[in-house]
Amino acid sequence: MDRRRFIRNVAAGTAGITIGAVPYELFAHEDFTTISILHTNDIHCHIEPFSGTNERYANKGGLARIAKLATLERQKNPNTLLLDAGDMFQGTPYFNYFKGELMLKVMSEAGYDASTIGNHEFDNGLQGIKDPLPNAEFPIISSNYDFSDTILSGSFPEYKIFKRDGVKIGIYGVGIELENLVGKKNYGATVYNDPLLVAQRMESFLKNDKKCDLVICLSHLGLRYRDNKVSDMDLASETSFTDLIIGGHTHSYLEKPLEEKNKLGQPVIVNQAWWGGLVVGKVDFVFEKSKRNKKAVYSDLL
């Protein structure tokens, strides 16, 4: 398998400590914990791999294989989250025949921890989201769509905090402008709020109020645009506490995740995993537990 891993130190301050360049497995003891993020986007109901007769993607991709990959990764590191950045719906007859039902069942079985709302989620209207929703055993996080005046009011949390091995991971989600992209009758009274402002509010809330150690944005805005349409690159440069932006919508193929600078000049990772389940993005964050904590816990437990 052609897997190229890229390892980086996070802050200049840690440059003196040489662990950044060494695989974390060498430090397999209590001082370090690794949070693995696996992510997909724009699966578009590709539950199975592409057909063997497909000219470009024969036998590649698909959720059935991603589920296996996620299981193997969880065996290696139980502190793994499997996330999706929207456009789960639409793209294969599985959607046309069974609406969102089968897709959400399969994602739940695959162990997805969270997803967000892509524009194609609206393809069968608001009712077309509401009907299959009970099949999703994972939260669909949406911070900038306001569904208050619709039948979907209260269906989507605006953030979610996961705790893995003591590390708090805060996740928020932003969706693309619906006007001129989704038929008005399909999104009805859904209100689209400025994703940049919402992202800034959410990341500050998760980092400063909720004391999250890791802040992740699930975005269906698109990677970058030639015009001034808001994109993940804008999100990266205009936010201060977001560590990882998991994108979608533009079906972008990236050889490796992008390492950008945020508003404070600190690193932020921007990634997108092509589409159809052809790629899974993998980001491992290595954390060091503080000394004080380590001593305190051990003296009481032993």
Partner: protein, 252 residues
Amino acid sequence: MRQTISYLLLITCLLFTFSCKTQFVQKSYEIENVSVSEEVGTMDSTIVQLYAPYKNILEKDMNRVLAISENELVKDKPESLLTNFLADLLLEQGAVVANDQQLDLTPDVSFFNYGGIRSALPKGEITVGNIFELMPFENEMVLLELKGDKMQAFLDYIADHGGGSVGGVEMIISGDKATDVKIGGQKIDFNKTYWLVTNDYVAAGGDGLEMLAENEQFINSGEKIRDAIIEYLEGVTNNNQHVDPKLDGRIK
């Protein structure tokens, strides 16, 4: 027992207190994008079992052959076998639907948005599955009455986008404008109105086609575009014909 409970409570409290103080400092990260191919491994058997009954239902219908095509049909601009084929069949099916619904009109122009054409059609057997891949969206056929100047603005949009899937029209792309426009073989008349058959997505102004929202009349047929294509292909086979569209220089 009570002692055990209080002891547990004490430990929990201590752990809680200390866990509140837990500080995690992010030290490094590793990133990679993993290609999902056979090399990743087998498929998850639970997932395969989960979708198997759904797959059976689908396959029965998807493998049905609708028609035979003489060529592979691929989309391209300014015109292509696929864009011409789709636009021409939509013009024809639009007339059929208008007649069935006793609407007193015949569509003059047809339009498929280029981005909505999601795959090519193979040479040889075209199956129901192929049409689902081509047109996965649940769009419905709509009929729009447009004033001549709005029709011209619409065709300018096509010209500005380098061509596209239109039927019933001949035009020349001159910069970002459509010139020498003929509709049904006649020079476009700004004092007339024309009927455009397309899908509900663009009819609502999607893809930047705001001029289509400025129509005189809007009729939603309730007929799915995909069903119209399937019906058309069944008709081709029933008439002992093959699919064989041509390039005709409608957009130059």
